[in-house]
């Protein structure tokens, strides 16, 4: 479906980004894997992509640093000359409540999670010029719901989702579709650090009350990203598609069936 397309997925050395990179590769796209600290993991993702019969390359860049982000896109331009798909997935942050958030942690989080999407989309749009393209940002339910220590990340995701709407309209004349995919809890390294007691063995694990009856997997998120990168989603613009197994629909988790009144 995506044969011959070139895709860049930020933060694809592990977790959800890795699943997205592999899924796009399975659909036939050549994939550029971006990472920050874990070179070995990134190279493993690239090897796994190549095993699917498509091209992979690895670029180290802190997407929160505009200079490094620019260098990454320069490398993409030099080696591929174009880009069809840009998935802004990399995210970072430290657990802090609003009252403990200092300028440094706020800046770090916003730079990596929100500003990188703006600057990345600008560069991606340039490389998609004249051929159309797909841009997808990965966001989280924390943009609307409140979780302990998630303040800066949640706010950065709200920014991201608003930006997705603006970019969807502004890039539409260039034939570029922009959307976001928002997950609830996904058991990756960072997901587990925020969930606390969310393991399979935990009786009271919150996700056990999820209507769909199981946790969201990285592959669940990747599947929706692949759909948004395909031709059938052409009329979906500026949306945040929630992948949570219905979790956010039943916040009260009521057990009764209701009386006749």
């Amino acid at each position: 479906m995506l044969k011959g397309k070139v895709a860049l997925v930020t933060g694809s050395s592990r977790g959800i980004g890795r699943a997205i990179a592999l899924r796009l590769a399975r659909e036939g796209a050549d994939v550029i894997v971006n990472y920050f600290r874990r070179r070995e993991a990134a190279e493993q993702t690239a090897r796994d992509i190549e095993e699917l019969g498509v091209k992979a390359s690895v670029i180290r860049a802190n997407v929160g640093d505009p200079e490094k982000l620019d260098e990454m896109f320069d490398t993409v331009a030099a080696s591929f000359g174009r880009l069809d798909i840009f998935v802004s997935n990399a995210a970072s942050g430290l657990p802090r409540s609003a009252l403990d958030l200092d300028a440094k942690v706020w800046g770090w989080t916003m730079d990596i999670n929100a500003r990188a999407f703006l600057l990345g989309a600008q560069r991606a749009a340039g490389l998609m010029e004249g051929r159309g393209g797909k841009i997808v940002a990965i966001t989280s339910l924390g943009s609307k719901l409140v979780w302990p220590g998630y303040t800066a990340i949640g706010v950065s995701k709200a920014t991201l989702e608003a930006l997705v709407r603006y970019l969807a309209v502004e890039l539409a004349p260039k034939d570029i579709c922009v959307n976001a995919v928002g997950a609830s809890f996904v058991p990756t390294e960072v997901g587990l650090s925020y969930a606390g007691g969310a393991g399979e063995e935990d009786e009271g694990a919150f996700w056990k009350t999820t209507p769909a009856g199981r946790m969201v997997s990285p592959e669940d998120v990747a599947g929706v990203v692949a759909f948004l990168c395909g031709s059938e989603s052409f009329m979906i613009r500026g949306q945040t598609i929630i992948v949570d197994g219905g979790f956010s629909l039943t916040p009260l988790n009521l057990k009764g069936k209701g009386g006749e009144n």
Binding site: R37, R39, L94, K104, V105
Partner: protein, 80 residues
Amino acid sequence: MSAAEETIKDIIVKIVHCDRKILTPESTFQDMKADSLDMVQVLVALEDEFGIEIPDEEAQKFKNFGDFVSFVEARVAEKK
């Protein structure tokens, strides 16, 4: 004092905003008042400056400024 040591001091002072005078081989990250964000930024700046790699697993073992310097010097020597 090696040239590498001076450069490492420059980088730490710039990122952590600590007093250069406190940087002795024994000074710890607590002495520098460096938090985990400072640490990542220092590591990345050192990697870029010296063209080496400092895996997080290695960096976690550093106890003081001296450990930083010896690791960087060893990696730079290996490269030559």
